[in-house]
């Protein structure tokens, strides 16, 4: 046993062992932190099996509320200038960097990796946010453009965000994977309803706290701690959700297929589940963003 | 001489220079649609740029006093009672009991059935009584009803009448009907035993939505005989905004240029702070011109604005930030 306890005090200090104030892990919906309307929670353990906290267990009604919040936020968020969205994402990175020790601890706890490895994960996650922040005011230039049609017409194609996107966040990569799934959705103006990793929800909750203090408007990102298998179907079938990312059910082909079938009811844009989670440190490319973009093409005659 | 969409110059004095325009609905519509368009982004940018003017010290004192004198202190609620109106009228005459140097407001604005109460309280103080009329705020009633509403207000002694146009008719393109209703309401403001009531015409710009519409309806109202053009009832969001008022100020400026006749402007609703009010005064100054910087030609339709003006006046006098407890809540 160390001579210094985890609070930095010498054991045997006359003040005795300090009892810490433990955090309650709640949902993040519409910019606020409610408990699940179901009143349910579930026990979250660290990689050694030790109890860490009871996280809120999101219900279908929480998912419904989150979709409402995301829809409400969409007009304002997509209406902001790309520059502004880029600034907000960069701000998230700033605040995350500032909270680095907390995130390192969350990753160690959730993923059971060493502190060094966790530092590397946090580095990547912050850099990933910065990378996406820089895309906000460039996507249109790379994906859009003038089209040389055969007639006296001005013709311009521009990408637009599709709307409310459901994201079943990766089960294993609870911070880097989470950031890599959420950032490309919102940087272009979509709003998101995210179901975090079931067994590793705590980095997502800390991430929600960062969002709440980083000038991100309420409802742009909503985070539900809970089960992708339970909540996923409700989101996949929701007629006011425009797209869904199924990476959180990677490896469960049957469930992924069911969700894709449900999504077809309103022809959601579906980002299919891979067989296994990808290497999150690889260059994401454009596809995570373009999967959730529509292309609008406008014509106008040219003449006196 | 220019013969295109912009305003033709005319010899001074006579609004009858537009007699041919108002002779038929098609002529009126062609004229209104021939007015120059308003670019939304440009108009909003100009309004915002004028909002960056910094008004300090003596200029600010002068502006605050002027703004107080331009307030039409308003109560237009279903729950208004004679007691409420008496309290409002007292405040109109003596806005700041702690400072007798504070000027009176321009007018009190109430529903027609409370005009008599207001008049009684205000006596010969010089504060006017403005009454809304024509089935305010919606304007959705038969013309006879709207005119009877107007006559009642005039009979009760209103110095000014704030009417609403029929927005449905305007948006459906029945410009002649809108025009005729203004003319009829103006006639209903006439008195044989005293000066005619002045007519303010409310557009409800929030429902008209485009600046082009605001320009057209401004010209329509001025041609029909409005004494004042007014943005809003205050019951619909958005109410008055700087860019909408900018377009209206340009209209009255152009109208005087063309006919020699001056028309007043009243933004109403949503002007809550002294800072906002000063922005409007700057805009009046630089767009229509200093001739309009007078309660006879510019008014604020407001209720909470007055207390903020008083607080700012107090700060300029004492150097200290004040609080709501030092001003009356009515």
């Amino acid at each position: 046993m160390s001579a210094i306890n985890k609070h930095g005090r010498k054991r045997g200090d006359a003040r005795g062992e300090r009892i810490d104030v433990r955090k309650t892990y709640k949902l993040y919906i519409g910019g606020a932190f409610p408990r699940s309307e179901s009143g349910h929670s579930y026990a979250v353990a660290d990689r050694t099996g030790t109890f860490v906290a009871n996280a809120a267990l999101a219900s279908r009604k929480d998912a419904r509320d989150a979709v409402l919040a995301a829809r409400k936020a969409f007009g304002g968020w997509s209406g902001r200038t790309a520059y502004n969205r880029g600034q907000v994402l960069y701000r998230i990175a700033e605040v995350m960097e500032d909270r680095r020790p907390q995130f390192v601890q969350a990753v160690v706890q959730s993923e059971g990796v060493s502190v060094d490895a966790a530092e590397g994960v946090v580095d990547e996650a912050v850099d990933r946010l910065v990378w996406y922040a820089g895309w906000a005011d460039k996507v249109a230039q790379v994906v859009g453009g003038a089209n040389p049609v055969a007639g006296p017409f001005f013709n311009l194609s521009s990408p637009e965000p599709t709307g409310v996107v459901a994201v079943l966040a990766p089960q294993e990569s609870s911070l880097l994977g989470l950031v890599s799934a959420v950032a490309p959705v919102v940087v272009t103006g979509n709003t998101a309803v995210v179901v975090s990793s079931y067994e590793r929800p705590l980095p997502a909750v800390t991430f929600a706290e960062v969002l709440a203090t980083s000038d991100v408007p309420a409802g742009v990102v909503n985070i539900l701690t809970g089960s992708a298998a339970t909540i996923g179907p409700w989101l996949a079938a929701h007629m006011d959700v425009n797209a869904i990312d199924l990476v959180g059910v990677a490896g469960d082909a049957a469930l992924a297929t069911d969700l894709e079938v449900a999504a077809a009811d309103n022809l959601k844009r579906v980002r299919r589940a891979p067989a296994t989670e990808p290497d999150w440190s690889a260059d994401p490319g454009l596809e995570p963003m373009t999967a959730f973009l529509e292309v609008k093409t406008v014509w106008h005659p040219i003449g006196v | 001489m220019s013969s295109t969409s912009t305003v033709p110059a005319a010899p001074s004095g006579d609004a009858g220079v537009y007699a041919d325009v108002t002779r038929s609905e098609s002529a009126l519509r062609r004229f209104l649609h021939g007015l120059p368009g308003v670019d939304q982004v440009g108009a909003e940018a100009r309004a915002a740029a004028l909002g960056t003017r910094s008004i300090k010290t003596t200029a600010k004192e002068h502006a605050l006093d002027l703004a107080v004198r331009m307030v039409d202190l308003t109560t237009l609620e279903g729950q208004d009672t004679p007691g409420k109106v008496r309290a409002l009228a007292s405040k109109a005459m003596r806005p700041d009991p702690a400072d007798p140097s504070c000027p009176q407001v321009a007018a009190v604005c109430v529903y027609p059935d409370l005009v008599a109460t207001a008049k009684q309280t205000l006596g010969s103080s010089g504060v006017h009584v403005a009454s809304v009329a024509t089935s305010f705020p919606s304007g959705r009633a038969a013309l006879e009803v709207k005119l009877a509403d107007t006559r009642a207000a005039v009979a009760a002694g209103a110095d000014e009448v704030d009417m609403v146009i029929d927005r449905g008719a305007f948006l459906a393109g029945h410009v002649q009907q809108v025009f005729d209703e203004i003319v009829a309401t103006k006639q209903a403001c006439a008195r044989t035993d005293g000066p005619d009531a002045h007519l303010k015409v409310i557009f409800e710009t929030g429902e008209l939505q485009t600046y082009d519409n605001v320009r057209r309806v401004s010209w329509l109202a001025m041609l029909a005989g409005a004494d004042f053009i007014k943005t809003s009832t205050g019951k619909v969001q958005p109410a008055a905004t700087l860019p909408v008022t900018l377009v209206m100020l340009e209209a009255v400026r152009d109208f005087r240029e063309a006919t020699g006749r001056m028309i007043g402007v009243k933004p109403a609703g949503g002007i809550r702070t002294a800072k906002d009010a000063i922005k409007y005064l700057v805009m009046v100054n630089e767009v229509a011109g200093p001739d309009w910087l007078d309660p006879e030609w510019f008014r604020f339709g407001a209720s909470t604005l007055l207390n903020d003006l008083l607080m700012q006046r107090t700060k300029m006098r004492t150097g200290r930030y004040s609080g709501p407890d030092y001003f009356t809540l009515d």
Partner: protein, 482 residues
Amino acid sequence: MPDIFEYAPAPESRGIVDIKPSYGLFIGGDFVEGHGTSFKTVNPATEEVLAEVAEADAADVDAAVAAARAAYDSVWSRMPGRERAKYLFRIARILQERGRELAVLESIDNGKPIKESRDVDVPTAAAHFFYYAGWADKLEHAGLGRRQDGSVPRPLGVAGQVIPWNFPLLMLAWKIAPALACGNTVVLKPAETTPLTALLFAEICQQADLPPGVVNIVTGAGATGQALVAHPDVDKVAFTGSTEVGKAIARAVAGTSKKVTLELGGKAANIVFDDAPIDQAVEGVVNGIFFNQGHVCCAGSRLLVQESVAEEFLARLKRRMGTLRVGDPLDKNTDIGAINSAEQLAKIRELSAIGEAEGAGRWSPACDLPATGYWFPPTIFTGVSQAHRIAREEIFGPVLSVLTFRTPAEAVEKANNTPFGLSAGVWTEKGSRILFMADRLRAGVVWANTFNKFDPASPFGGYQESGYGREGGRHGLEGYLR
């Protein structure tokens, strides 16, 4: 017009800036002495001397280029784009944080109104750094293809950059941000009448912990600029300034492998049709020529107004000019500040006198100009034709030449009848006509129903003698990569 509503002075406080009595050069991450003849920079509104500034002689320029080369070879070219990006993001943030200080300093050194330096120059400069920071690690997506070996486009090396006095900090941002984002290192020479914000920028580079030598600032005049442009170890030359000097540079780099971009003068036509949104068009014309005292390469210095509305338009224009406030740049209500230098004032006066002599009608609103400092009232010349010198030569001051036209084709013809080709404005409510005109106007930037709009995402640059290359946008990367 007499002001019954006098606004009262509303001065921005000078207390926030700390101008040193003298400044050295910024080389290799430190301030060092220059070996040329130091010179003074002056506040053009008061003629007060602000500071003594070092002149970089040929040896100093050599040292700066060497520092840039060393930083390129050992640090910057090896650094992954994502790390370079973060330096640029830091700089962008500090520009925002020190925004007021930079704006006040810019107004004092340049003469432009604080309203403009605060609301336009500084925020746009910060935005350029934000924008280009994001490209640093995305060059494979810039649409420039790949190199022969399949790799992502590479930086050129050391860039020598010479900027003018009209938007000192903003021009610095336009040059440095893309250069650094692409992996180049820079040696930048600010104009001799406006060095102070560049020198404050050097401090900001230090605050951002930018590796030494990545940015070097060498102050001086024409000789310093020439030495920099001609230096054999400079791979890229970027210049913004007069067409005359631009041509000299093009000659100087001939036969070398230096890549060059030039952003030069203009004589833009601001074209108003009879169906223009007339009040906004008046604003656009006023903004086009009086913003920044007309010291703008893309200024709308020729008003081409359709003859059928000319009289009406001019009446409104004159009335609007009557509300322009000329005076102390640090007063928040000033619209038009001081002319940047005695030299520039003399040029403006000379060309205006020529305009009068050529028979154009000269008009300015009544203005109370201060007794000291360099001032010129907003001025229009009516009855101008293409044959007048004031219709052809860039005045670079608050002077508008007014011509008329009858048809769209004639407007195009007159607008294009110039060796310049930087920008143009079109005012009409008819969409197809906007596009028709935009199609035919030989100008790198066409503003329709607006004017003088700048954004880091939007490419800017001219045709013909207004220069070549583009700054801003994805296209702005091209000049700094191979």
